[in-house]
Point group: D2
Chain length 357, copies 4
Amino acid sequence: MAKQMHPPSEKRSIPVGVVGASGYSGAELVRLLIQHPWVDLRCVTSRGHVGEPLAEVFPRLRGIGAADELVFSSPDVSAMVASGIEAVFLALPHGLAAEFALPFLEAGVRVIDLSADFRLDDAALYEEFYGASHPAPRLLEEAVYGCPEIHRDGLAGARIIAAPGCYPTSILLPLVPLLRESLLELDSICTFSMSGVSGAGKKGNIPFLFAECNESVRAYSVPRHRHLSEIEQELGKAAGEAVVISFTPHLIPVTAGIVTTTYAMPKPGACERVGPVLEQAYEKAPFVRLLGSDCPPDSKNVVGTNFIDISWSQDPRTGRLVVMSAEDNLGKGAASQAIQGFNIAFGISETEGILRV
Amino acid sequence: MAKQMHPPSEKRSIPVGVVGASGYSGAELVRLLIQHPWVDLRCVTSRGHVGEPLAEVFPRLRGIGAADELVFSSPDVSAMVASGIEAVFLALPHGLAAEFALPFLEAGVRVIDLSADFRLDDAALYEEFYGASHPAPRLLEEAVYGCPEIHRDGLAGARIIAAPGCYPTSILLPLVPLLRESLLELDSICTFSMSGVSGAGKKGNIPFLFAECNESVRAYSVPRHRHLSEIEQELGKAAGEAVVISFTPHLIPVTAGIVTTTYAMPKPGACERVGPVLEQAYEKAPFVRLLGSDCPPDSKNVVGTNFIDISWSQDPRTGRLVVMSAEDNLGKGAASQAIQGFNIAFGISETEGILRV
Amino acid sequence: MAKQMHPPSEKRSIPVGVVGASGYSGAELVRLLIQHPWVDLRCVTSRGHVGEPLAEVFPRLRGIGAADELVFSSPDVSAMVASGIEAVFLALPHGLAAEFALPFLEAGVRVIDLSADFRLDDAALYEEFYGASHPAPRLLEEAVYGCPEIHRDGLAGARIIAAPGCYPTSILLPLVPLLRESLLELDSICTFSMSGVSGAGKKGNIPFLFAECNESVRAYSVPRHRHLSEIEQELGKAAGEAVVISFTPHLIPVTAGIVTTTYAMPKPGACERVGPVLEQAYEKAPFVRLLGSDCPPDSKNVVGTNFIDISWSQDPRTGRLVVMSAEDNLGKGAASQAIQGFNIAFGISETEGILRV
Amino acid sequence: MAKQMHPPSEKRSIPVGVVGASGYSGAELVRLLIQHPWVDLRCVTSRGHVGEPLAEVFPRLRGIGAADELVFSSPDVSAMVASGIEAVFLALPHGLAAEFALPFLEAGVRVIDLSADFRLDDAALYEEFYGASHPAPRLLEEAVYGCPEIHRDGLAGARIIAAPGCYPTSILLPLVPLLRESLLELDSICTFSMSGVSGAGKKGNIPFLFAECNESVRAYSVPRHRHLSEIEQELGKAAGEAVVISFTPHLIPVTAGIVTTTYAMPKPGACERVGPVLEQAYEKAPFVRLLGSDCPPDSKNVVGTNFIDISWSQDPRTGRLVVMSAEDNLGKGAASQAIQGFNIAFGISETEGILRV
């Protein structure tokens, strides 16, 4: 019986807020939080929509729980704290997120940040990849990289969760277990990702107009996308030594979804261990679906969910391993993974509110 | 507090089955039923997938409730009855559905049919529009046209529910209250609809290939689509006299979603009553969202849900009323509306399992 | 032998310019003009791209004729006149176009304007629909509404051509011959159009982002779209009396293409004349393709071309006629129709440079 | 003056035919051939459309040249030969193409084959990758692999041209010049491609329905796609030794277009030679557009054309070279490249009929 389990009825709802709720990740957070059985979404902010009812800005949400009562406010930390929230999700541009995190933490509100601000352990690396000095470097040590399948232990009770980036999640989850078991030649990792256009954010930029993206495929940010910083940080932790990889993202005409294909050379004799190592690593991970070998995942099976689907193939001609994954860039790659981390941090069942298709 | 209400805990799960579960409507039924808190989905059938695990045919559903245990069986009524189901959803072509309905009913299993077989009161009308004599005419009288917003009373305890067609739902819900109040000139109704390609079914037909439908818009079934039969039947009931309308469906490159725009001439003085009449009619309808006047609905706000969004405008230049609606052709236009009818028939809260976005 | 006919070899190339060449209509003009056998495209302007090579802004055009040599300049009328152009295409917002038209005309450069500025005969009607007084009312009388199938005679030698709007073209071409022959009840015309997103222009507006338009259908500008002004003007001329119609445009997720479906009540006995009247009207029109009755046109057959495809059906149930058309909103609805008018104005074969698929 | 050059007027039209003209590649051939200034398309065949006018099966082509006169016939070699054709394009499944090629050649008709049947030099390799013995192995030696940028010399006067596959063209054109100059470590080549759905052909297969492919991305044919055979054959010729590569194709929701991204390790000191070598190799190639470094090509700029756009980047972090290309899978990847080969074989200017956007 796999029906969603609900916490005991004495369990209270946790009051939360979302800052930056009008972007794509923010809206996805709101969609999930208003349907989360143990969350009480009290405030949603958006500088551009102050005073507008949530259900007018997002007509899709009308008629669902708190959606009919919430009104966008300005991102006023004091007012949000006064509303009694115990956690805040920040769906803001990098740089800005850290500025908000500090006062919330000081007020005792836990922070789940969807930006890049707390993902890197090293402020210098942040500066190298994001082109600005880190706004709150002393918080970096405390922040937990919020990929529950990798850092589950750190998440329980965490005060600052850095929800991982979309590309990183799709690359890390298939590779981390393999690197932990030293199955791959570290200098052989070549990744290639395709992302839906929502990943570019909800901004009025001409390159992301329908008429520009439709019937179009293109690589971008070649050869050094910012997400490489957190990808290589986490791969390095798994491998126990520095890892440098090739990574090329491509923009494809879907609204949401990321598919990543990675080539890597297994160490001698390691190839047959790939399946078993992944199976063992994710035996108890409700959101990692191992499709078995030679069964390429399809983004349409994960969009709108918190699942990541993984498959792999061995190529006897080249000796290389091919690892493939599919996730929703706004789901497991952003909002629902952030809620997964929140659930764990607050001692709720990991799957609450996000085990749905 | 609009959170989804659950029935009291002593409530049992209702065992059900789905016949024809591999098509688009069938798959949507399965997706919703495995997540329905008061349903126990016991059997799914598909002639083409006998013996295959549900989660292999629909990888999207892996990891969700019964999806990991169900295996497609052949549509064997006796075996399904023996499994203890109390209701069966038929997602079959017209003609075939009626053949299955009879033995299920005889065995005491209630039938929710998604085909056209039980939507018409008159077997002769069926023959006129579907080109074959009705396979079970004596059941027509008992069957309830399963649009809860129109025939709620008939649904409680119903043994045969005819889930409405996708186009009819989108046309009827905005118009029926207006006709009941005699607001429109009956011979003035001109409707245009646009539907996603899933409406054409999951069959290997070249005109519905991606490369044929993408970047393509076209009318079809001009001037007499089969759905006119049930549309005019229900409009006629609302008006108290026969109604004949113009209707042109168009195929557009979206997977799901129907948007309908209707012109009609209000009777003298009736125009200002349109809004109030709709508001009163749907005051307690959780799935009808009235957006107000001059606020055209967008299919992306309803796809994947059981909502229908409705707006209207008055055109002082022509005197005509413009009524617009948006729904998911597989949702409110098929599967989730069928479950809404099932909920009512079984005395469960109407919104169980389908009030979600 | 229907191969493209070339003018005699002594024919010179006509030097032309395009103002506002970076928008969607402007870019389509440039694409066609650089491949037009009797055009010498000398200057392309765009305020936002001054100094940038055409082939960098539009990489698609690289390697084709003048595309490799042209560089965007600022819209400086004197400089353009000095370059020796004999005609200028204006692909500018309404209001701005008229400001440019005047000095070009004074300098002896003929103007083909793709905006709404010269489409209406009546400056008061312009002000009513466009919300501003007309910037050059005295030019309205001279300007020719550049739909060659309707106003061919006026185009020969014309100094100011007002290229028709996209929706108007799709509505007028099927209806004008029927109104000229008094086949339709004038108060019965109800039109419904669906347009690709390029119709919204190349501006950084959030509602036209890929992630907003994809998997979305919606009506807009209900009930009074600006194009009604020119539609009704031209319908009225054809009918010999004022015509008021219902018109609802819808945005659908294709890059280009418009499909229009129109209902109208034929006058008694007129229905059987519809086909013959259309056939006679367009017997010699190389860009109007009559598909016959009951053969709905598909936008994918006309996108990228100057063709408009037309079909019609009679509905014996309602008595209404259903007329359907498909065109490219950037082609027959804008750029290629503008070139068609230019060809005629300059005495070139109407089909030069635009009879292609 | 870059206008398309026409051969001297005494030049005659070459009579040709297309076998298998109803599939996607066949239809694209027909579209281009009816507009080709020096081609007389005399016969088009399709088993499924015998007797149907071309313009009914492909309404897009109506009104263009021979499209209004051609009628589909059955693929009868004798009748086609009797019609006087000098060349035939075969757009047939592999295996079947070779069966047609023989009698045409014996009758003196030159063959341009778009299938895989004549692309491989070695019948054993064909059998290994295509799972059947080669139907006409003795023709393999004579056949020319029809990529003009690689085998221009062999094409002049060729009797059998094997038009290259879509993926191979996209991979070979960026790499062949680099391998000829020994710039790359041969065992380091990792390619990833994304293709539009038309590449799957015009067959009624459920996985290629709109509702299956839309909002979907997936890898397929992992790890050994059939096209690897010709890719590695041609890379090996360029390198002067055997080359084995990794290649993963992905299906993305566009109708047409292929984008390929390749990683390879340059030999020491070779990286700075990449740009100059490509520029020299393609200096006189009218259809290869080098975009320069760090300028990822976009499929929308090449779809509908015979262009292939190429860019490259060096990644100083990994030392790898990233090479990117974009082409139309039905254009440079199939039909227009076949015509390019035909042009050269018949002594016409290479660009006739296909230098268009």
